[in-house]
C-alpha cells in the first residue's frame, strides 16, 4: 500500500549513487535488483548526474529506507551487513518508491490476526495500521505473497507466530523474499502509470490460436502446427503440464512425415530493440530423430535491406528425447527484427517431431550456464541428498561447481566452490572479485510473473580461513581431492553460500519443480570494476520546495534543458539543473554553455596578462609624459637665462 500524495513520487528514471562504503557483492546485487525493475515495471535507474533529488545507497547499520521521495536532495538507503540479497534490495527500493508494508494497510485485520502478547515488548508499534486517508491499497486485494509483507515470526518474543493468517494455507507464504509478487507489480505499475518496461519484449505460451502473431515462412516446405498433444510426445504442453484440460498448446513440427533435409520456419512478430542485447529462452521437446535439430535465426530489417537479413544465431543439436528442455540464446540486435525458429529434419528414423513452448524474449543478460536437475521430487524426499553440479567455467576461466544440500528437513542450502581447472596456471590467485549468482528458476511461462529465488556471493581475495590460508586460493593448493562421476580426480575449494537458500515449503510452491525438473541458473562475472570510487558530481542546491509532479510537469512541459539538464520547478518557475562533473559543468538558462576548470585557468591567465599589459602601457605613457613636461620646463628656463645674459652684456 502506497503513501498518498503525488509529491512522494519519483521520476520514472531514478538517479542513484552507489557509495564507496558498499560491499562489492552488495553493489552487484543492487544492479541485479535494478534489472528486475527494468524488466517488470517502468521504473529505471541512472547514475546521478546532478539532479536535485537522488537515492544514495550506502552500507549503513542494517537495511532501511524512507518511504517515497522526500525531496531532501541526497536520500539515503542503507544496504548493510547481510542485506545484500536481491529481494531485500527490491523491498527497500519499494519503500523508497512510496510503499509501506503490506500488513499495515487499513483492511489488514480482515486477513491476518496480530497476536499482541507474542510481540517483543516495546515493538508493538511495528504492527500499526494506517487508515485509507494516508495509505492507498490501489484497489488491489490483500497480498499474502507480497515482498513487502512481514513473515510470521516478525518481532516475536518466543517461538509462536506473531502474525496468523486467516486462511491457514498462507501462514508460510507471508514473508517471501524471492521477487515481486503479481500484486506488488500491479500496485507499482498503477502508482507510476506504467504501460511498458525497458527490457521486456515478448512472451508466448501459445495458448491462443493467434500464436502471438508468429508467422510461418513462405520459403520453406513444411509448417509448424498448433497442437495440445502428440501421440509420440509430448503428451501435454509445458505451460500447463497437463494441469488444465482442453487447454495447453504448443507448436509442433512433424519430422516423421517429411524427408531428410526438409525445414519448417516459424518467425516471431516484428520486435523493436532498445538496449541492443537480448536473451531468448524457450523449451524444446524432441520425439523425432536424435539428429533432428532447431536453428535460431534473426531477421534484421534495415533501410538497405527492407526484406530483412537472415542470420544464423545458434544451432541446437542433440535435443533430449522425451522431455521438455530449457534453452537460452544470447542475441545482439540493434535494429527492428524477428526471431525465427527453424526445425530441420535430420537423418535417422523419426516417429514424432520437434515441439516449442513458453518463449520469452527480453533485453536482459542470459545466464552463463543452466544446471538441470531431473527427478527432483525423489531427491527431495531421500536422505543424504547432496547434489553437485557438473563443472563449469566462468568467462575469465575459473572452474567452479555448485553444491545443493537437501539434507535439512526445512531448508535447502546452496554453495559455490572453485575447483581445479585447465586455466589455473594463467589465472590470478587468490581469485579476485568474481560474483557468482545462483538462481532457482520459477518456471512460470511468463518471465514477468516469475518469482525466482536468487542469491549472489563474491570472491574476496583477502578473505582467510581459520588457519590463515586464503579462502579463494588455488583449489589445488587449499582444496581437497574429489572425483567426478566419470572417475576423473580434481581439487575442490571450500564452498561459500547459504544453508537457508529456500525453505522446502517455498520450493514446492509456485513452479520451481515442473515436469519433475528443477533449473539452477548460474552466472559468474568479474565485478572488480565496481570497486572504483563512486563518481559524485558537484553538489547541486537541494530543491526544498514540495512540488506536486503534475505542476512540475506543466511548468517543465515547455522547457527543454540541453546537454542532459533536468527541469525542476522552483517557486513556480521551471529551472534547468545542469549536469556537472569534477572539473566540468554546464551552465546557462538551458544548460547550453559548457565550462571547465581548464577554461577558468585560461581566463585567469589571459586576464592577468591583459591587466599587466594595460598597466605597462599606462606606466610607459605616464613616464613619457612626465619626462616631456620636465624637459619643456628645463628648456624654457634655459632660454630665459640666456636672454637675461644678453641684456647684461
Amino acid at each position: 500500500n502506497s503513501i498518498i500524495g503525488d509529491e512522494y513520487r519519483w521520476p520514472h528514471i531514478i538517479p542513484y549513487v552507489l557509495e564507496d562504503s558498499l560491499d562489492l557483492n552488495a553493489k552487484g546485487v543492487i544492479l541485479n535488483a535494478f534489472e528486475r525493475y527494468r524488466l517488470k515495471t517502468c521504473i529505471d535507474f541512472k547514475p546521478w548526474s546532478g539532479e536535485a533529488n537522488y537515492v544514495s545507497v550506502f552500507k549503513g547499520s542494517g537495511c532501511w529506507s524512507s518511504v517515497g521521495n522526500m525531496h531532501v536532495g541526497k536520500q539515503e538507503l542503507s544496504i548493510g551487513e547481510n542485506c545484500d540479497r536481491i529481494a531485500t534490495v527490491q523491498h527497500e527500493f519499494l519503500h523508497a518508491l512510496g510503499f509501506w508494508h503490506e500488513q499495515s494497510r487499513s483492511d489488514r485485520d480482515d486477513y491476518v490476526t496480530i497476536v499482541w502478547d507474542r510481540i517483543l515488548s516495546g515493538r508493538e508499534h511495528n504492527f500499526n495500521i494506517y487508515n485509507d486517508s494516508v495509505s492507498d491499497s490501489l484497489n488491489v486485494p490483500y497480498d499474502y505473497s507480497s515482498v513487502m509483507h512481514y513473515s510470521k515470526t516478525a518481532f516475536q518474543n518466543g517461538t509462536e507466530p506473531t502474525i496468523v493468517t486467516r486462511i491457514s494455507d498462507f501462514e508460510d507464504v507471508i514473508g517471501q523474499r524471492m521477487d515481486f509478487s503479481d500484486y506488488d507489480l500491479m500496485k507499482l505499475n498503477r502508482l507510476y502509470n506504467c504501460s511498458s518496461s525497458l527490457s521486456f519484449m515478448d512472451a508466448c505460451d501459445f495458448e491462443l490460436e493467434n500464436i502471438c502473431g508468429m508467422i510461418q515462412s513462405s520459403g520453406d516446405t513444411a509448417d509448424w502446427q498448433w497442437l495440445s498433444q502428440v501421440l509420440a510426445g509430448p503428451e501435454n504442453d509445458h505451460s500447463n503440464m497437463g494441469q488444465c484440460k482442453e487447454s495447453g498448446f504448443f507448436m509442433y513440427f512433424n519430422t516423421s512425415s517429411v524427408k531428410e533435409g526438409v525445414t519448417a520456419m516459424l518467425e516471431s512478430r516484428i520486435l523493436y530493440p532498445k538496449r541492443g542485447f537480448q536473451c531468448l529462452e524457450f523449451y524444446l521437446y524432441n520425439s523425432g530423430s536424435e539428429n533432428d535439430q532447431v536453428n535460431i535465426y534473426t531477421r534484421v530489417y534495415t533501410a538497405s535491406n527492407p526484406e530483412g537479413v537472415l542470420t544464423l544465431q545458434r544451432e541446437i543439436k542433440e535435443i533430449p528425447i522425451g522431455s521438455w528442455q530449457l534453452y537460452y540464446v544470447t542475441l545482439q540486435v540493434t535494429e527492428k527484427f524477428r526471431v525465427a525458429f527453424e526445425g530441420v529434419r535430420g537423418p535417422g528414423s523419426s516417429l514424432g517431431g520437434l515441439s516449442i513452448d513458453d518463449i520469452n524474449l527480453s533485453e536482459t543478460r542470459c545466464p552463463h550456464h543452466i544446471w538441470r536437475i531431473q527427478n527432483f521430487t525423489q531427491l527431495l524426499g531421500s536422505q543424504n541428498a547432496e547434489i553437485r553440479s557438473p563443472p563449469y567455467y566462468s568467462p575469465k576461466g575459473y572452474a567452479y561447481q555448485i553444491y545443493l544440500n537437501l539434507n535439512s528437513s526445512t531448508n535447502v542450502g546452496i554453495y559455490f566452490h572453485l575447483i581445479s581447472g585447465a586455466n589455473d596456471d594463467q589465472l590470478q590467485w587468490p581469485c579476485p572479485w568474481q560474483q557468482a549468482t545462483m538462481t532457482l528458476l520459477d518456471q512460470n511461462p511468463d518471465i514477468r510473473q516469475r518469482m525466482s529465488n536468487q542469491r549472489s556471493i563474491t570472491t574476496d581475495p583477502t578473505m582467510t580461513n581459520d588457519d590463515g590460508s586464503y579462502f579463494w586460493d588455488r583449489p589445488s593448493k587449499v582444496g581437497s581431492v574429489a572425483i567426478f562421476p566419470n572417475g576423473t580426480q580434481f581439487s575442490r575449494g571450500r564452498g561459500y553460500g547459504t544453508s537457508a537458500f529456500i525453505t522446502h515449503k517455498r520450493l514446492i510452491s509456485r513452479e520451481f519443480i515442473k515436469g519433475d525438473d528443477v533449473y539452477i541458473l548460474l552466472t559468474v562475472e568479474d565485478i572488480s570494476h565496481l570497486n572504483s570510487t563512486a563518481i559524485i558530481p558537484d553538489p547541486v542546491p537541494t530543491s526544498t520546495a514540495i512540488v506536486p509532479t503534475s505542476a512540475a510537469h506543466n511548468a517543465c512541459s515547455e522547457v527543454e534543458c540541453q546537454n542532459g539538464g533536468v527541469c525542476t520547478v522552483h517557486e513556480d518557475r521551471a529551472e534547468c539543473k545542469c549536469p556537472a562533473g569534477e572539473d566540468w559543468w554546464y551552465m546557462g538558462k538551458r544548460c547550453e554553455k559548457r565550462g571547465s576548470t581548464q577554461d577558468t585557468i585560461v581566463i585567469a591567465v589571459a586576464s592577468t596578462v591583459t591587466v599587466f599589459a594595460v598597466m605597462l602601457v599606462i606606466t610607459l605613457v605616464s613616464v613619457y609624459c612626465t619626462r616631456r613636461k620636465y624637459r619643456k620646463r628645463a628648456s624654457s628656463k634655459r632660454a630665459a637665462l640666456s636672454l637675461e645674459n644678453q641684456h647684461a652684456f
Binding site: 537495511c63 522526500m70 531532501v72 508494508h101 571450500r494 564452498g495 547459504t498 544453508s499
Partner: protein, 40 residues
C-alpha cells in the same frame, strides 16, 4: 554440512530484514523505515 567444507553466510538461520535490524539494536519505524520530514 561440516564447516571445513563450506562457509555458511546465513549461519544456519533465515534472517529477515527486521531480524537483521533488531539484532543491531535498531528501533526503526515498522522495522526498516527511516522517517524524514519532507523538504528538510
Amino acid at each position: 554440512v561440516p564447516e571445513m567444507f563450506v562457509k555458511d553466510i546465513d549461519e544456519g538461520t533465515e534472517r529477515d530484514i527486521f531480524d537483521i535490524n533488531e539484532a543491531l539494536g535498531l528501533d526503526l519505524f515498522e522495522g526498516d523505515i527511516r522517517l524524514l520530514m519532507q523538504g528538510k
